[in-house]
C-alpha cells in the first residue's frame, strides 16, 4: 500500500522547479495504489505541461514505488 509520504517525496523532486515557475503539484487523494494530483498555477492550463508532468511524475512514482499503479491528473 502506498503512503502519502512516499508519493510526496517523489513530488518534492520536481516541486522546487514548479514553484520557481509559479506553479505547484498537489496530491489530492490516494486510491489504493493510485494517486490523483492537481496542477496549479502557471502550467495548469497548458497541454504540454500536462503531458510532461503526467509522464514524468508517473514514471518517477513507478520507479520509486514498485507497487504504484497509475496517476490521474485532475
Amino acid at each position: 500500500m502506498i503512503t502519502k509520504e512516499r508519493v510526496e517525496a517523489v513530488l518534492n523532486r520536481v516541486r522546487p522547479f514548479m514553484q520557481a515557475d509559479g506553479g505547484d503539484i498537489e496530491l489530492v487523494a490516494l486510491n489504493g495504489n493510485s494517486a490523483d494530483v492537481k496542477l496549479t498555477g502557471m502550467c495548469a492550463g497548458c497541454p504540454s505541461a500536462h503531458m510532461t508532468l503526467y509522464l514524468g511524475v508517473e514514471t518517477a512514482l513507478r520507479e520509486e514505488i514498485p507497487e504504484f499503479e497509475s496517476l490521474r491528473l485532475i
Binding site: V14, Q19, A20, G22, C43
Partner: protein, 348 residues
C-alpha cells in the same frame, strides 16, 4: 546535417576554456593536411567539428564525405569505403566507386572508427599508408587524394591496450588529436547553447524566442546531459514545438530533464566547475549569482517550498531570503503569478 556556411566564426562554441582551447587548436590545424582523430562521447559534435575542419581547409571546394563505420556489416564496409567492380559479388551489377574515391580531392570523415572490426582495420591501415584503394573484385590500384578525419566515441588508446584496436592504425590516425569534452564538463556553455538552439527552432517555426523562466534555466544547468549537445538541441526543439503560452516554463521541458535535474540536490554548490585554463576570465558576479540561485532552489526544495524553513537552512533571515529570491529572479512568478513572463529584461 546541414554543412552549408559552417565557419569557425559562425559556430556557437560557448565560453568554456575547454571549448575555446579546442577551437584555437582547430584554427591552427585548419591548413594542415594531416590526419585528425576526434574523440568525444555521442552528441558532443564530432561531425560538426569534422565539417568545420574541412570547411576551413584548402580542400573546402572539394567533397566532404562523412561515413559512419558503425552502419555497415564487415563486408559492406569494404564495398562502401573502397567500392566494387561489376560481378564482384551477387548483386554487384555495375562498377561502383567507394567513399574514398568519392572524396577525392576533399576530406573523408570516418566516424565510429572504434566500431571497425579488427580484420578491416588492417585494410584501412593500408589505405592510410599508401593513399590508394582497390575496389572489391578489381585489380586496379586507384590513387586517392583525401584528407582523413576519424571520429571515435571511445578512447582508442584504451582499446589498443585491450587488444581491440590495432596499435599501428591508432598511431596513423592519432596525428592531430581533438578531444571534445562532454557537456557536463562545460556547464558554463549550457546557457549560450540553449539560447542558440531555442532561437533556431523558434525562428524555424516563424516565432520570436519567448522568455525562458529561471526554473527552466536552472534545470538545464543542473541536468547531466548524457546525450550532450545533441540532447540539448533536441530538448530545445521540443520546447519550440510545444510551448505556446509565451513563456518557456518547466512544463514545456522533457520530464526526464526536470526529474533528473531535481534528483541532484546533494551538492547544490558544485554546479559549475572551475575553468580548466588558469588564464581564462571568469565572470565572478554571474558565477556567484548562479551559486546563490542554486543554493536557494535547493533550500526551497528541501523545505518543500516553506520559505521560513529555507531561510533557517541557509542561516539567513526570512526577509533576507525574500530579497535574495527576488534578486536572483527566482521569485517573480512565485509572488505574482499573474505578472509572470512580463518582466525578464534582467535575465542573464
Amino acid at each position: 546535417m546541414t554543412t552549408a556556411a559552417l565557419t569557425m566564426d559562425s559556430v556557437v562554441v560557448g565560453r568554456s576554456a575547454r571549448m575555446r582551447a579546442v577551437f584555437e587548436f582547430l584554427r591552427v590545424i585548419g591548413n594542415s593536411e594531416s590526419t585528425v582523430l576526434i574523440t568525444g562521447e555521442s552528441g558532443t559534435g564530432k561531425e560538426v567539428t569534422a565539417t568545420l575542419i574541412h570547411q576551413s581547409s584548402r580542400r573546402k571546394h572539394h567533397p566532404f564525405v562523412a561515413v559512419s563505420c558503425a552502419l555497415f556489416s564487415e563486408t559492406l564496409i569494404e564495398s562502401e569505403l573502397f567500392g566494387h567492380e561489376r560481378g564482384a559479388f551477387t548483386g554487384a551489377i555495375k562498377d561502383r566507386p567507394g567513399r574514398f574515391e568519392l572524396a577525392d580531392g576533399g576530406t573523408i570523415f570516418l566516424d565510429d572508427i572504434d566500431d571497425v572490426p579488427l580484420s578491416m582495420q588492417v585494410k584501412l591501415l593500408r589505405v592510410l599508408q599508401n593513399r590508394t584503394v582497390e575496389r572489391l573484385g578489381g585489380t586496379r590500384t586507384v590513387p586517392v587524394n583525401v584528407r582523413i578525419i576519424a571520429g571515435s566515441k571511445r578512447d582508442l588508446r584504451q582499446m589498443v591496450a585491450d587488444g581491440k584496436f590495432r596499435e599501428d592504425l591508432f598511431y596513423r590516425l592519432n596525428v592531430l588529436p581533438v578531444a571534445l569534452p562532454p557537456l557536463r564538463e562545460r556547464r558554463e556553455d549550457i546557457p549560450v547553447l540553449m539560447e542558440h538552439f531555442l532561437e533556431r527552432y523558434f525562428r524555424r517555426g516563424g516565432d520570436d524566442t519567448p522568455q525562458v523562466s529561471d526554473a527552466v534555466r536552472q534545470a538545464f544547468l543542473r541536468y547531466s546531459w548524457p546525450g550532450n549537445v545533441r540532447e540539448l538541441e533536441n530538448a530545445c526543439e521540443r520546447i519550440a514545438q510545444t510551448c505556446n503560452c509565451g513563456t518557456v516554463r518547466v512544463g514545456c521541458m522533457s520530464a526526464s530533464i526536470m526529474f533528473r535535474a531535481g534528483s541532484q540536490p546533494a551538492d547544490p554548490g558544485v554546479v559549475t566547475p572551475l575553468p580548466a585554463a588558469p588564464a581564462a576570465p571568469v565572470a565572478l558576479d554571474d558565477r556567484l549569482r548562479e551559486l546563490e540561485s542554486n543554493l536557494i532552489l535547493w533550500a526551497l526544495k528541501v523545505s518543500n517550498g516553506n520559505k521560513s524553513k529555507a531561510a533557517e537552512l541557509l542561516q539567513i533571515k526570512r526577509s533576507t531570503l525574500g530579497d535574495r529570491i527576488n534578486r536572483c529572479g527566482l521569485g517573480r512568478e512565485t509572488e505574482h503569478p499573474s505578472d509572470a513572463g512580463v518582466e525578464h529584461a534582467d535575465a542573464v
